[in-house]
Subunit: 406 residues, 2 copies
């Protein structure tokens, strides 16, 4: 059981008490309306911290440094993030530059460099333009209303910011969980997505904090796909500063469960918004697999379906080619009984007992034209449940990605 | 050591002695120039047979029937194949129809139904139009020159046939290995590709025959990718009828090794042609990973790279965005040392020791414009070697697949 969880209007990464943020345009990205490319996020008191990171064999030194600085015995105060340059595949200079970025941010904010984390996203193989960092980081203003600036500062090919906050009350104390993320391309996370920063003013025991984040990431960021590719910079952070003044949350009670549910809601929103805003995407695809032998089976199968190019292109073309859904679920190699499979598109059943049934094709074509297409596959062999989110694959994705650096 | 292996001019699946084939247009596919949609392949004497099949959890009943009819203790005489309809996700009717197809083919050819295999490819979720089968199969003419007809009869969205034969002499006896394949979409095989049929007049012991085919498939069909999706109908068959009159090949001698090498050459050609002719493709991408800790590592990493949408779109756009190659190799999660990686595009080195080096961008852009683009990644941590083949991802793939059934 959880306590009632409410949405915070205009919620963002600074909605939780004690967090401030800001951003600046330094010219790392090409200029544009409202564009920012360096962001600072700071807590006015020390935070426990949890993180999940890319599983790619090639890792940005930025990720390496941040991973070193989090853990159950560590506290952090701030995060500096930039977009436009991933600081990846740049040799030994990458770690030197990542450290200097945290030095600059720490000096600006009056905190220790060891308490400052760093994240980068953008083109691989190009060094961070440190001259810009040295010029602009010292001038970034952080405020309690700066969450949106921070959200803009981490975008690359995203068309819009991803922000949310939710809150719940424990014994009269309001606890808030907020977050921002960015995505768009190279999105098929494994243990984390491109970049997401979540904050809370709850007072959270660090081991429980990491468990809570890992559990939420498994069901959210790890279940989205834009193009099957996995970034070298994937990072999800959760900072808890205790500024709400509430009890210590360490699991095993209603307040802890409510916190975990709030984190899950924040992560789910941020993950789905990444899928919805995938490069070239015109619509969100939500895939639900139910009645599998296990939840893990359902998670794997739903993600295979959300990742399939043939499913993505069929949805784009409003083509009720359900054989591709069959193929994609089967590709996951989970145990199933083909003769028991039912398939629904936006609640219209099109397959029963593994075979096409008579349905109104035009109504399904209409459903596939919605901004959100829900594909539901009932395997009817157990109680396992899982969801995944993707987007359609369009010519725009190809055009965009065939001329990105040149 | 192997004996000299020669290419057979205009080689095809009937180049090996004792094999005949033919095809007919029955109207399962939409009509078009040179289109055929049912093919028969027959040996004038019993064959030992080996096969590899789709690992998808959803399997066509056609595959199920063929899998039942091959094995070390079985002999076969014929194969009937159709394109335009996959006979998948059609309930219990699928197995009934697959059996009847083999009954019709066996009657036409004067062989036993139990010695007749079947393969189908095309749209999923639609029943085989058996009326057409009953009308057209009894009239198919098979000849020793019918290999090309058979190759045409199995095509779906392919733009051209894939055919080859090679031969080698053992003590004055010429042994031939021939084959045909089809591919185009839903191509990311696991233990087999869409459809490939290979034949030989060598006299091959059945266990060695299966070992030979499985080894060749691992290095060829399992290393190609068009779109990451795995068909429910993937089948590779190798039929050996002994018509050359040579010694029994069972491994462990030069003749057996020459046979294995000939099978590998046939499979490599047929696999590469599938990648080259991928849906919407304008060019072949060959990825070589060398200096890995093991051959298996190199195979996995090369395939991840050949499968990456971001690599495919970069090659399409002639964009030397080598960070994507880095990302894709790292996504395979094999052990590597980033600071030792060298990358070459058509032999032009662009990365040394994990970092960009000064190269003539225009010459690399030119190289990326070739019909065949060779990406070579030297990991420099061991002696492992592997290759994979893919094609570029173009707007045409999206346009084509967003309106396939409707």
């Amino acid at each position: 059981m959880t306590l009632p969880i409410a949405s915070v209007p205009d919620g963002t990464v600074t909605s939780a008490r004690g967090f401030s943020a800001g951003g600046v345009f330094a010219g790392i990205k090409t200029p544009g309306t409202d564009k920012l490319d360096i962001g600072l996020l700071v807590s006015d008191q020390p935070c426990t911290v949890a993180g999940t990171f890319s599983q790619n064999s090639v890792i940005s030194p930025t990720v390496t440094l941040t991973r070193e600085r989090i853990g159950a015995d560590k506290q952090v105060r701030a995060v500096v993030a930039n977009s436009g340059c991933a600081n990846t595949a740049v040799g030994g200079q990458g770690l030197i530059d990542a450290r200097e970025m945290t030095d600059l941010a720490a000096a600006r904010l009056g905190v220790a460099a060891e308490e400052t984390l760093v994240a980068s996203t953008g083109v691989i193989g190009v060094e961070i333009p440190m001259a810009l960092m040295r010029e602009y980081i010292p001038n970034i203003e952080v405020t309690e209303n700066g969450g949106n600036e921070y959200a803009r500062a981490i975008l690359t090919t995203d068309k819009r910011t991803k922000e949310i906050a939710v809150s719940f009350d424990v014994d009269g104390v309001t606890h808030t969980v907020g977050g921002v993320s960015k995505g768009s391309g190279m999105i098929h996370p494994n243990m984390a997505t491109m970049l997401a920063f979540t904050t809370t003013d709850a007072n959270v025991e660090p081991v429980f904090l990491q468990e809570t984040l890992s559990a939420a990431v498994k069901l959210t960021f790890n279940q989205i796909d834009v193009d099957g590719d996995q970034s070298t910079n994937d990072t999800v952070l959760l900072l808890a500063n205790g500024a709400a003044g509430g009890q210590v949350l360490s699991g095993g009670n209603e307040a802890s469960e409510s916190f975990a549910e709030a984190v899950l809601q924040v992560c789910r929103h941020l993950a789905i918004e990444i899928a919805r805003d995938g490069e070239g995407a015109t619509k969100l695809i939500e895939v639900t697999v139910e009645g599998a032998h296990s939840d893990d089976d359902a998670l794997v199968a739903s993600r295979e379906c959300a990742s399939s190019l043939l499913v993505k292109t069929a949805v784009y073309g409003r083509d009720p080619n359900w054989g591709r859904i069959f193929m994609a679920v089967g590709k996951s190699q989970i145990p199933l009984d083909e003769s028991k499979i039912d398939i629904y598109v936006n609640d219209i059943q099109i397959v029963a007992d593994g075979r096409a049934i008579a349905y109104n094709v035009q109504s399904v074509v209409m459903a596939l034209g919605d901004d959100e297409v829900r594909l539901r596959v009932a395997l009817n062999v157990g109680n396992g449940y899982g969801q995944a989110w993707g987007c359609d694959l369009t010519e725009e994705y190809v055009v965009f990605n065939s001329a990105y650096t040149t």
